[in-house]
Amino acid sequence: MKTIAGIILLVAAPATSNPMIVEAPSTWRSLSRAARFNPLASVGIVFIAIFVAFALLAPWIAPYDPAFIDLPHRLAPPSTHHWFGTDELGRDILSRIIFGARISMLVGASVVTGSLLIGLLIGSLAGYYGGRVDRFVNVILMNAFLSFPGFLLAIAFVAFVGPGIFNLILALVIGGWVGYARLVRAQVLAVREREFVEAARALGASDLRILVRHILPNMIQPVIVQGAIGMAGAILAEATMSFLGLGVPPPTASWGTMLNDGRSHLFDSPHLVIFPALAVMFAVLSFNFLGDALRDYLDPRARIEAGL
């Protein structure tokens, strides 16, 4: 009679586990190594920290009241009294930039949060349920929004309902959610097919549980990266809208409004434009750096190459 080697192996093999467990480096250590590997990320994070501090602590940091009008010292160039000079009404530009960070951060964070939430909801419904839901959401809703430039939509919306910070945020969310929804949908489609999702279904988990506990945590990383880069876009959009007079109404300091105010003095007092422009530039750049760094950090392949 034939004997099968496989069976001998099966019987002979003892049912013990071997503790061959690989230790991953701690989060903090791998983060600090990541920072050394990508110095731009550190620059970005430092600038973001500064802008956030500006936004939170503006009344205590700013040397002057940002709305205080001092006509005798109007259009003063940068000096020890006014580091960034004064504008055409004698207001301190440094103080206005510090207060302007509030608007930028507030609008940026609100727009990203709002777009992200809507995008997550709609994108995951379309991706998870597929079929007719997906066809409606993806083909009709998303394509309709994508066929309009988001910015045009925002301008039209504000022109319709009137300027103001809340309307501005709403306008930018209306133009911004589609990008997140598309990304989320694609991610959910990919994760939905993985076996641990089927395992959860076999256990009798509800759709909500599968989405929230299994799919979401496994697809959120690229969405976070998109959010960081979206923050830069939202700050830029806020400045642009304010520049066009469709943003925050005048007495409030906003970088975009400041750029618009300084336009007429571009040649005789360029500091009116240079400093708020630099503020916008650094804010946008920092968030882009952060987004890039996050993408590299969260991509395991890039991480292995960098030895993190």
Partner: protein
């Protein structure tokens, strides 16, 4: 009465592409079989023969085109959501891919106790094989419930031969065989009667796979399990199964006791399958 009765089960995938020729692809074609309590029914066949689809259909992870599945006297396919949820406690699945079947973002403890959370069960206080899990009392303290989960998780680890310290780790920290053990622990958490083992060892090294097969055998004895063991490997199926069903192109071509199938195969396909299995003749 059989634990699982499958009658005229059919799954047709809608025609798409040029090869389908209008009629659709019959992944599982008019399959009827019984699985008796306590036995291991081995399901063999080549790739694409519909073995995996059949396993998924029985658990209703895929909706069939037609046919019925009766589990323990209850209709799996017509049950409501709530009934299906209750049925899911009785029947579980072990997957082929030990890397894809565990959520990489969950700790092992969360993975193996998730079934209890889903069904709102307290962990069983005593030794696992003998104590039934009872519905949680509404006043059970959060802390007490957590420690119950922990002790259940520890028992599950012990049952599948893993260290208790594994509970705090993530799946990627384990080897394939260890991950497969975690997947088995999760399947056992609800104390099911019936487990579909879908090629549980074919992704593993031979020696590691042998350990898993032995573990499955031990668990069957300790927990009184019934298996549908899907595999393309004749030696593994022969070792573990009491009966074997041979599948080809969506149909069961032959079904019988392990001895009948391996020693006296009737169908040409079964003979071919047996001949195709690499075997080493060992000198007597």
């Amino acid at each position: 009465m059989a634990l699982v009765e499958v009658r005229k089960l059919t799954k047709i995938y809608a025609a798409g592409g040029m090869l389908a020729r209008g009629s659709g692809f019959r992944a599982v074609d008019d399959v009827s079989l019984d699985i008796h309590a306590g036995e291991t029914l081995g399901l063999v066949g080549e790739s694409g023969s519909g073995k995996t689809t059949l396993g998924r259909l029985i658990l209703r992870l895929i909706e069939p085109t037609s046919g019925t599945v009766i589990f323990d006297g209850r209709d799996v396919l017509s049950g409501s959501r709530g009934e299906l949820r209750q049925l899911r406690r009785q029947m579980q699945i072990i997957f082929q891919d030990p890397f894809g079947s565990l959520d990489p973002r969950m700790r092992v403890e969360e993975i193996v106790t998730e079934p209890l959370r889903i069904h709102g069960l307290n962990g069983s206080p005593g030794r696992l094989p003998y104590v039934d899990v009872s519905p949680s009392t509404p006043h059970a303290g959060q802390e007490r419930r957590r420690s119950r989960y922990r002790s259940t998780a520890a028992q599950l680890m012990k049952a599948v031969g893993l260290e208790e310290s594994a509970l705090r780790r993530y799946p990627h920290e384990f080897s394939g065989g260890q991950r497969q053990r975690i997947g088995i622990a999760r399947a056992l958490a609800l104390r099911p009667k019936f487990i579909v083992a879908d090629e549980p060892v074919s992704a593993l090294d031979v020696s590691v796979g042998a350990q898993i097969v032995n573990l499955l055998k031990d668990l069957q004895r300790d927990f009184g399990l019934t298996y549908l063991f899907i595999s393309h490997s004749m030696p593994v199926v022969r070792y573990l199964s009491t009966r074997i069903a041979v599948m080809n192109r969506g149909k069961i071509v032959e079904i019988g006791s392990t001895e009948e199938i391996t020693e006296r195969p009737q169908q040409e396909y079964t003979k071919k399958l047996l001949a195709a299995t690499p075997e080493l003749e060992v000198a007597r």
